[in-house]
Amino acid sequence: MALIECKDVSKNYGSTVSLKQVNLSLEAGRIVGLLGPNGSGKTTLIKLLEHLLVPTSGLITLNELAPGAKTKSFVSYLPDRDFLPDWMKVNDLIKMYKDFYDDFDEKIAREMLNSLHIDCTKSIKKLSKGNREKVQLILTMSRQAKIYLLDEPIAGVDPAARDYILHTIVSHYNENAVVLISTHLINDVESILDEVVFLKEGEVVLHENADALREKTGMSVDEYFREVFKC
């Protein structure tokens, strides 16, 4: 049974077509890369799954439910920007996540924050940009969710932080979950991906097992991506 199911999903903004007849079926136990250039519709698709947008047409089901308040209880979403209230302290946010999400594991969150020497008594606005992004990621990955939606989790961080983030993703997601990572930095992310989905101008042009793709093409996913999306 697919955890994420999209059937003929389209999204228009006025006359602009952002997604065109997307059909996608993602099963549990996979880390899936949603890959495409800027403007290809990656963020739109993720926002549709998180019910921050509604499709113009088509059907989305998450664990056989339509996106809404109920699915948010088992979908853990990391937006591609700062989203935490900057007046709140890290401790306050841990309490808030614990309050609202039954699947939030405070112990894991504190372990990760301690290992990065992040002062939980500090407010978000007093943290450096890198630490802020790490706090956001840690809060997201400390949930034992069924679906993780990570929108450009490594785009704004330095290479060392990138490694940490990718390591955190791999070691903290549970095997009954699916992790969907949207990114255009394929080289960095490639090694952790089980499956790849290529999105071109709002359409799914490829959905394959990463190893199988590498064998078939004789190239890395990054190299093949550059071929497919050559300007």
């Binding site: 998180e50 019910h51 921050l52 947008l53 509604v54 809404g68 308040a69 109920k70 948010k72 209880s73 979403y77 937006p79 920007r81 700062d82 989203f83 935490l84 209230p85 007046w87 808030m96 309050d99 609202f100 999400y101």
Partner: protein
Amino acid sequence: MLGKLLKYEMKMFGRILLPLYGLLIATSVITGLSLSAVMNNVLDEYLMAFMPIVYGVILVAVGVMTIVLLINSFYKNLLGREGYLMFSLPVSTNKLISAKLISNVIWIILSVLAFIISASALAFTMIALSGEDPAMIITPPFEEIAHTLSQVTPTMVINIILGIVVLIVIMALMIIRIYAAMAIGSQWNEHRIIGSILAYGGFRIAEAVIMTILGMTGYASHYIFALLNRPFDMDGVANPFGFGLLIMIVGFGIVAAIYWFVTWYFLEKRLNLE
């Protein structure tokens, strides 16, 4: 879930307003002290102008901050980047709106109470330092109040309760109208604030037009007069005044429900986060 949301809403306001309330009350006592000192020729007259001005400024600050927080709790916390957090919580859009509305009404009431307490504190401070017997000054007004209260009938109590409900419904209407305007304004990416102001203006114009039409057709007044022609119970809710208040509650309630639906629609179906 609503309770949890309310907890965070109250915290968001409380961290700014509670210290301001404390400052307001402290300033009112100091103002009372300084005014008394000036009146007793202990201090120079220039202080007469200084402290009341400070008190006035803080009073205005409390009012302005209450409104700023009201608007920001929606604009920044729901429509801004914090909206990514709020709309990812496993709660319905209706609960998000409810929590904000309830919290805003509570804080408006608390701000009014803070003003009343500070004004009382100022008055009591001056009375205490006036050299007069405080009992001579305070007792007569309280005796008046006690006398009035002893003459209150159950009907009056019902009317007072209905009157308070009307005030709350009007407050909620004013707030949800602002939310609806911001929800519509957020559709216009580069000009959210202008869009919100235009939407708000549009609402006020529409309300005025509809009220005029209703007034001109006489429909509303005929209907209400017909209702008023029914035999009234002078006690209980069906007393004329209480009934009028009830009609206001229903009327304003319907308008507020319309704005609620508009807000819900644009947040649920047309969410446009930064």
